[in-house]
Symmetry: C2
Subunit: 462 residues, 2 copies
């Protein structure tokens, strides 16, 4: 599909200015900033960037775009990894970061309602004094709107679930500018189709999410973290598998391979043994968290794990998880100036060791470096391929490794993406993963966005 014509852009721009005044930008630097995410995907700038303050303004923007057939691309913190926000057909980027208000906290119901530009760190700062927290943590300080749109998860998902389980209701602007609320605040409902889950993970292709009602949790009485290293990768993974199969409600269980530990030691000054390592966290009552830690300690011991290095103090814990969250930047520092290509398969836990070991064997035949980290309690892990995207042979090699990894995961009844989403980067795998169900997804897309203006060219190509 062709990009939007210049005359049309001018007209749309004027109509948007009539509503938003100076919160409409066509400056090159603003457009450039909004045409890229944190991945290797080649940036393409939108024609116009707008900064709404309310659901009603978003509805008015979408109505104008619908009248002109102009693409609409919602934009949050810009931390996505599969080209979700790249404006490959031009159009209007809706930057939602000025919609950054926590609208309501119902502490007694353990829920809250926020605008999409609230970031996860901002939300947790807001909640801390109430003794509450929102657990979903993809690492980056992503926006709640973006996390909802990509069905994000991250380190705590093994215990608390993903955005799928933790969004109670949404306000959404549909492709013709209508505003709907997908659900109410009751913890469960059997009242009609699950519109909430339809929009969670829809990546802006069915509508623009403008309010999110989230489940919250009380901050546990006890939070303790530990680090344990293993003689080899398989032992580390096998101890994870046993922990999950025993049903221990561990809050975090994160794997770093030897190369990633080296990178984190250097980047974050951790001083860990340079071996495959698990970062663990236990939430519960004091007795409950202790009991979990004891059980996991016994399991890891059986697989040759070291003694736990405890990090019970808040400061030490923060340092550990900050290092985990910076794992990608640490990886990047192994090859200064490189770009990151993060893979994202997820497999049933019983196949995790096979999938990781076969992948490591495959990597041995490559010249690219690729440290491994993983939310292994979910069966989800990432290679961070360090590439120079200006070198076609490196892109081709990363592509080859990723293709083989995805096909390996699919053969193990897994998915091509545990948490990053499809964007434009993984569209080629959709058919292999879902077969005839892709036609049902296309039916959905056509029904909700018949003009194909909502983030076109992402998830489903029409």
């Amino acid at each position: 599909m062709a990009a939007v014509e210049a005359a049309s852009v001018d007209k749309v721009g004027l109509e948007l200015q009539a509503i938003l005044g100076d919160r409409v930008s066509r400056s090159q630097s603003v457009r450039d900033h909004h045409g890229k995410d944190e991945s290797w995907h080649h940036p393409i700038a939108p024609d116009i960037v707008v900064f709404p303050h309310s659901t009603e303004e978003v509805a008015a923007i979408v109505k104008i775009c619908a009248e002109h057939g102009t693409p609409v691309i919602p934009f949050g913190a810009g931390t996505s990894l599969e080209g979700h926000v790249i404006a490959d057909r031009g159009g209007v980027c809706i930057d939602l970061m000025q919609m950054d208000q926590v609208l309501a906290v119902n502490a007694e119901d353990l829920d809250c309602r926020v605008q999409p530009g609230v970031t996860r760190k901002q939300l947790n700062s807001y909640l801390r004094d109430m003794g509450l927290f929102f657990p979903i943590d993809p690492g980056a300080n992503a926006s709640i709107g973006g996390m909802t749109a990509t069905r994000a998860s991250g380190t705590n998902a093994v215990r608390y679930g993903t955005m799928r389980e933790n969004v109670l209701a949404l306000t959404v602007v549909l492709s013709d500018g209508r505003i709907i609320k997908t659900s109410r605040r009751a913890r469960k409902s059997a009242a009609g189709y699950d519109l909430t889950r339809l929009f969670v993970g829809s990546e802006g292709t069915l509508g623009v999410i403008t309010e999110i009602t989230l489940r919250l949790y009380g901050i546990p009485e006890s939070i303790t973290s530990a680090v344990v290293s293993f003689p080899d990768l398989k032992s580390a993974v096998d101890s994870v598998i046993s922990t999950i199969q025993m049903g221990i409600p561990i809050a975090r269980i994160e794997l770093l391979d030897k190369l990633q530990v080296q990178a984190c030691n250097s980047y974050s000054g951790l001083g860990l043994a340079e071996q495959p390592t698990l970062f663990l966290e236990f939430h519960g009552t004091t007795a409950g968290a202790e009991e979990q830690a004891k059980l996991v300690g016994e399991i890891s011991g059986e697989f040759g794990g070291s003694d736990f290095q405890w990090t019970g103090q808040l400061e030490e814990r923060n340092k550990l998880w900050e290092a985990r969250h910076n794992a990608a930047y640490a990886a990047q520092s192994l090859r200064p100036g490189c770009q990151l290509w993060a893979t994202d398969v997820c497999v049933p836990i019983s196949r995790l060791a096979d999938c990781i070991m076969e992948t490591q064997a495959d990597l041995e035949g490559s010249y690219l470096q690729a440290p491994l980290v993983g939310h292994v309690g979910d069966g989800n892990f990432h290679l961070t391929l360090l590439i120079d995207p200006e070198k076609p042979e490196e892109l081709e090699e990363a592509n080859r490794i990723n293709d083989r990894l995805v096909m390996r995961a699919l053969a193990m009844e897994g998915t091509c993406t545990g948490e990053h989403g499809i964007g434009s980067g993984k569209m080629k795998f959709l058919q292999a993963e879902h077969g005839d169900a892709v036609a049902a997804m296309r039916t959905l897309k056509l029904a909700f966005d018949p003009q194909n203006i909502m983030n076109p060219g992402k998830i489903i190509s029409l």
Copy 2:
């Protein structure tokens, strides 16, 4: 819409026989059995009942119906409560109870794949020797297919979630006979639209569910149950609210009002104090379950609760929960020959006491008896209105009470149905609950079932 014409029924019947042989029935008794559920809703028989054995047979049946524009009504255990299976436009009832195989158990991944006619009791018998269980328990021995189609929950949902959280993937026959698989076995995925959740709770109106992949759980090391009675209803509810707000991972917390306790004592021989009562269950390690029980005991003591009556032995526990599951029959025995009208609102937990107390006050102005039971940890409770549906004034009075109850729950940001579904009985509340989102639901229905043959007249009227 008119019922199916006789000549068309004959033609469809012959085509079905060509595929299914004697697994096609037009006998009056078989049809009558398939035109009713367990509620007061007036039965209407389908024209034909078929008994397929495979997904492919279901696809062939739906294709024939699609060619003739004949309604298709999936049927499981027949335990629904809002007229879901009533064939008010005639057509073909697909009885799925002969598709009753457990197809795979992946114990190491804590999941299984079953046909829709497997009942929850059958599944748990099958799993017991493996140390696994499936927690969702709506009381009735419903089929897994029916539970999926109505987004069922029940007593354990406060800890384990509903069918929404516990279905990993589905095989579905669409309205034109195409077969799709909605997802794979990975615990999480961000690969495209959430088709699984689209069909969970769709009540047969978007397609026929022919296989279900479910999450399983290890049977806890310790399971203990207790009964505690309170001086009044509000104290009982307030102790529930405190328990939930403290984040105690209680497995079951069920409320029975005084009238329901009287009914259960008489019907199930329980010998409980005739006061508002909670049935509790604690799952965990031995130490963990004890700790939970101690905390809940302290809370209930603060609200005037009696000492816990423990029922740690399997036999006693089973008797207790059997009595809870038979609460509706116990209620029915208060007025021999009556029919049941079960209400089903669910509200945010902070509004639960208000909602229940206002409802009890409202009931005092009625001549109908209506014992109360509830999955109160979720904010979900039921009145069981005992009516003679042959008496129009009683139907009208039950209608009046239910209307007021639903509007009360909606005003408290709750839902008209926590777990029973919309069926035909609650369609009139959909607009009040969802507003403009009903149009989005209609868009979905039209996209997936343009002929309106899939359980027509349920959830959404076209």
